[in-house]
C-alpha cells in the first residue's frame, strides 16, 4: 500500500524530468557525441587534438580560467564581510538584502552599457582623474580584462552574498560566545568557528560565481575587446562567424569539463577545512 503511494510521487517530478531530457540532455549529448567523430563518420579525437594544439585556444582557455578565478576570489573577499554584517549585525536585514540583490533586477546588457558609460574614455572615472590632474590623458579602462572582471563582479556578487547569508544565518550566536568564553580572540573565533562554518556557503557561492563567469556571454562580449576573447565568446565566434559547429561543440565540451573539475576541486578543499560538510 505504502509502496504504491511513494511510487505515485515520482509522477510529480516527471514533467520537469521530461522537459530537461527533451530540451537539455538530448541536445547536449548529441552535441558531445558529434565531437568524437570525424567527417567520414568514424570515431576520432582529431577535433580535440587540433583544438588543444592551437595557441589561440590555449590563450582563450587560460584567460577564461584566470578571469573567472580572479572574479570569484574578489567576490568572496567582498561578499564575506558584507554577508556577515547583514546576517549578524544589521537591523534592517530586509532592506540590505534587497539592495544586495538589486543589481540582479536589470539585464546584463543594461549593466554592461552602464559600465561603458562609467569606464569609457569620456566616462565618469576618466573625467574625474583628468580634472584632478592625476593623469594627463584618459586611460583605456574598457574592452580589456579589467572591465570584464568589473562586469563579472557586479553580475555575480549578489549570488555570493546570498549563498553566504543563507549559511551564516544558521550559525548560532552562542557558538560565537562559546569561542570567546573559551578564550578565543575575535580573530581566532573567526578563523576557527565562523570561517569553517561559513564554508558551505562560500563553496556554493564560489561554484555559482565561477561557473557563471566562465559561461557568461553578454558581459565579455560587450565589455571585452576582440583580443580578450573568452570561451563563451569563442563558441559564438566559431559557430556563428566561422560556421564551424564541431569546433564550437568541442570548446563547449571543454567548458563543461572545466566547470565540473573546478566545482569538485572547491568542494574537496572545503571538505578538508570542515569535514562535516
Amino acid at each position: 500500500m505504502l509502496e504504491k503511494k511513494t511510487k505515485i510521487y515520482w509522477l510529480f517530478i516527471l514533467p520537469g524530468c521530461l522537459f530537461l531530457a527533451v530540451f537539455m540532455l538530448i541536445p547536449l549529448f548529441s552535441l558531445i557525441l558529434k565531437t568524437f567523430f570525424n567527417e567520414s563518420g568514424s570515431f576520432s579525437l582529431a577535433s580535440y587534438f587540433s583544438l588543444l594544439e592551437s595557441t589561440y585556444f590555449k590563450q582563450v582557455f587560460w584567460r577564461s580560467i584566470r578571469l573567472s578565478l580572479v572574479s570569484t576570489m574578489v567576490c568572496a573577499v567582498l561578499g564575506f564581510p558584507t554577508a556577515y554584517y547583514i546576517s549578524k549585525y544589521s537591523k534592517n536585514k530586509g532592506v540590505l538584502m534587497a539592495l544586495a540583490v538589486f543589481p540582479m533586477f536589470t539585464s546584463p546588457v543594461i549593466r554592461s552599457f552602464s559600465w561603458m558609460v562609467i569606464l569609457g574614455k569620456k566616462g565618469v572615472i576618466n573625467n574625474l582623474l583628468v580634472s584632478a590632474g592625476l593623469i594627463a590623458k584618459p586611460v583605456s579602462l574598457l574592452y580589456n580584462e579589467f572591465s570584464m572582471v568589473v562586469g563579472f563582479i557586479q553580475l555575480f556578487l549578489p549570488l555570493m552574498i546570498l549563498s553566504l547569508i543563507g549559511v551564516m544565518d544558521n550559525i548560532s550566536e552562542d557558538l560565537n560566545l562559546a569561542a570567546g568564553n573559551l578564550g578565543a580572540s575575535p580573530a581566532a573565533t573567526f578563523r576557527h568557528v565562523i570561517l569553517p562554518l561559513s564554508l558551505p556557503g562560500l563553496v556554493t557561492g564560489s561554484v555559482l560565481v565561477f561557473t557563471g563567469c566562465l559561461t557568461a556571454y553578454t558581459t565579455p562580449q560587450l565589455l571585452g575587446g576582440t583580443d580578450t576573447r573568452v570561451l563563451a565568446t569563442m563558441i559564438y565566434q566559431q559557430a556563428m562567424s566561422l560556421g564551424d559547429w564541431t569546433q564550437a561543440s568541442v570548446v563547449a565540451v571543454v567548458m563543461i569539463v572545466v566547470t565540473i573539475l573546478v566545482s569538485s576541486g572547491i568542494n574537496a578543499v572545503s571538505r578538508k577545512l570542515n569535514p562535516t560538510i
Binding site: S172, L177, A178, A179, G180, N181, L182, G183, T276
Partner: protein, 345 residues
C-alpha cells in the same frame, strides 16, 4: 570577602531595563542557583557575569578586581549553554581541546588533559565523534567537559539540563554536583526547575522582575519564605491576613476566628501562608485546632491524595489530604490549620 560581587547592576537593552540595581554575592566554592520564571532576569545576570553583555550601570567585582569592562575572552570562566553550543564542525576531542589551544597549552599536555577530562565525564572512546553523532546527554557531558578542562575560576551553567528527558535530568544533576564537589569549583546555576535547583545548590537566589527576592539555603527558602512571591513559588497555596492580639502567638483572622501560630514575627497586621498538605479537613462540628468552617467547592482525586478547594469566610483554601473519607461537593467541613506549619510573611 565574597569571590564574586555584583554591585548595583542595572542592565537591559534600549529602553528595556531587565535588571534594576541588582546586588548579588557568591562565596568561593559555593554552588549558587538563580531560580525564577522566564523573563525574570536570571539568564541576563549569568550572561553579564560571563561578559556576553555589559551592564548599563554598576560594578562587577571578581576576586577583588573590577571585572566590569574585562572582555569575555580574558575572563577565565566556563560557560555551559542551554543549547550546549558545541562546535558542530569539530570532533569531541577538538571541542574539549579548544579552550586549551586558545591558551597555547602544548599538544602533549592537551592530549593528556582532554583524555583525563573525557574519562571524568565518562566519554572515553568518543574522541573522534562529531556532536551530531551523539545523544543529548552525551552532548551535555561534552559541553561540561569543555567548560571544566580550562580549570575555570567560575563555572556558569545556563539551564544546562532543560533539553534532557526527566530521568536523564536527575542523573546529570547528580553528576554536576559530584564534579563540583570533586573539583571544588564555584558555580552559578540558572534554572526554572525548583526541584533541580534545590537538589543541587548550596544557596538559592530567587529572582523576580529583575531583583533577587530572597537568597538562602534551599531548606531556609522552602520552610521560611520571606515574601508572598517566594511562598507561592515554593508551594504555599493558601494565604490569609492576620491581626495580632494581646495574647502571645494568637492572631485574629478577618472573620474574627482565632488562629494560633507557633512562629513569632514583628508587626501588627501580617500575612500568613500554609501549604495544602498542612491543613486537615474534618466533618462540620468536629473539634479541631485553628478551625475554619467551610464548604467543599471542588473535589479532585489525585490517586494517593485527594485535593479539595474549600470556601471559608476568609477566602478559598486548597487542601491536600491522604485521609480515606471522601467529601463531596457541597459538604460542610472544618479546616484545621496546623499551628507550627503556618508561616508569617
Amino acid at each position: 570577602m565574597a569571590l564574586l560581587e555584583l554591585q548595583n547592576i542595572t542592565a537591559g537593552y534600549d529602553n528595556n531595563v531587565i535588571l534594576k540595581d541588582l546586588n548579588f554575592q557568591v562565596e568561593k566554592g559555593e554552588l549558587v542557583s538563580l531560580l525564577g520564571s522566564s523573563g525574570c532576569g536570571k539568564t541576563t545576570t549569568l550572561r553579564l557575569i560571563a561578559g556576553f553583555s555589559n551592564p548599563m550601570d554598576g560594578t562587577f567585582i571578581f576576586d577583588g578586581k573590577d571585572y566590569t569592562q574585562v572582555p569575555l575572552n580574558k575572563r577565565n570562566f566556563g560557560f555551559v549553554f542551554q543549547s550546549y553550543a558545541l562546535f558542530p564542525h569539530m570532533t569531541v576531542f577538538d571541542n574539549v581541546a579548544f579552550g586549551l589551544k586558545m591558551r597555547k597549552v602544548s599538544p602533549e599536555q592537551i592530549q593528556k588533559e582532554v583524555a583525563d577530562m573525557l574519562e571524568t565525564v565518562d566519554l572515553k572512546g568518543f574522541e573522534n565523534r562529531f556532536p551530531k553523532e551523539m545523544s543529548g546527554g552525551q552532548r551535555q557531558r561534552v559541553a561540561l567537559a569543555r567548560a571544566l578542562v580550562i580549570k575555570p575560576d567560575l563555572l556558569l551553567l545556563d539551564e544546562p539540563l532543560s533539553n534532557l528527558d526527566a530521568k536523564l535530568r536527575v542523573k546529570m544533576r547528580v553528576e554536576i554536583r559530584r564534579l563540583q564537589q570533586k573539583f571544588g569549583f564555584t558555580a552559578i546555576y540558572v534554572t526554572h526547575d525548583q526541584e533541580e535547583c534545590f537538589a543541587i545548590s548550596d544557596k538559592v537566589a530567587i529572582m523576580n522582575h529583575g531583583v533577587i527576592e530572597q537568597m538562602d539555603s534551599p531548606s531556609a527558602i522552602y520552610n521560611h519564605p520571606k515574601t508572598e512571591f517566594i511562598a507561592h513559588f515554593v508551594g504555599f497555596e493558601n494565604f490569609l491576613d492576620l491581626k495580632r492580639t494581646e495574647e502571645a502567638n494568637v492572631y485574629l483572622a478577618a472573620d474574627g476566628s482565632r488562629v494560633t501560630v507557633t512562629e513569632g514575627k514583628e508587626g501588627d497586621a501580617l500575612k500568613a501562608c500554609i501549604r495544602p498538605e498542612d491543613i486537615q479537613i474534618v466533618p462540620a462540628g468536629t473539634d479541631a485546632v485553628n478551625p475554619l468552617a467551610g464548604e467543599v467547592m471542588v473535589s479532585t482525586f489525585l490517586g494517593k491524595r485527594n485535593q479539595y478547594n474549600v470556601r471559608t469566610a476568609v477566602g478559598e483554601f486548597e487542601v491536600s489530604t491522604d485521609q480515606e473519607s471522601v467529601y463531596k461537593i457541597g459538604d460542610q467541613v472544618v479546616l484545621s490549620l496546623t499551628p507550627n506549619k503556618i508561616i508569617l510573611l
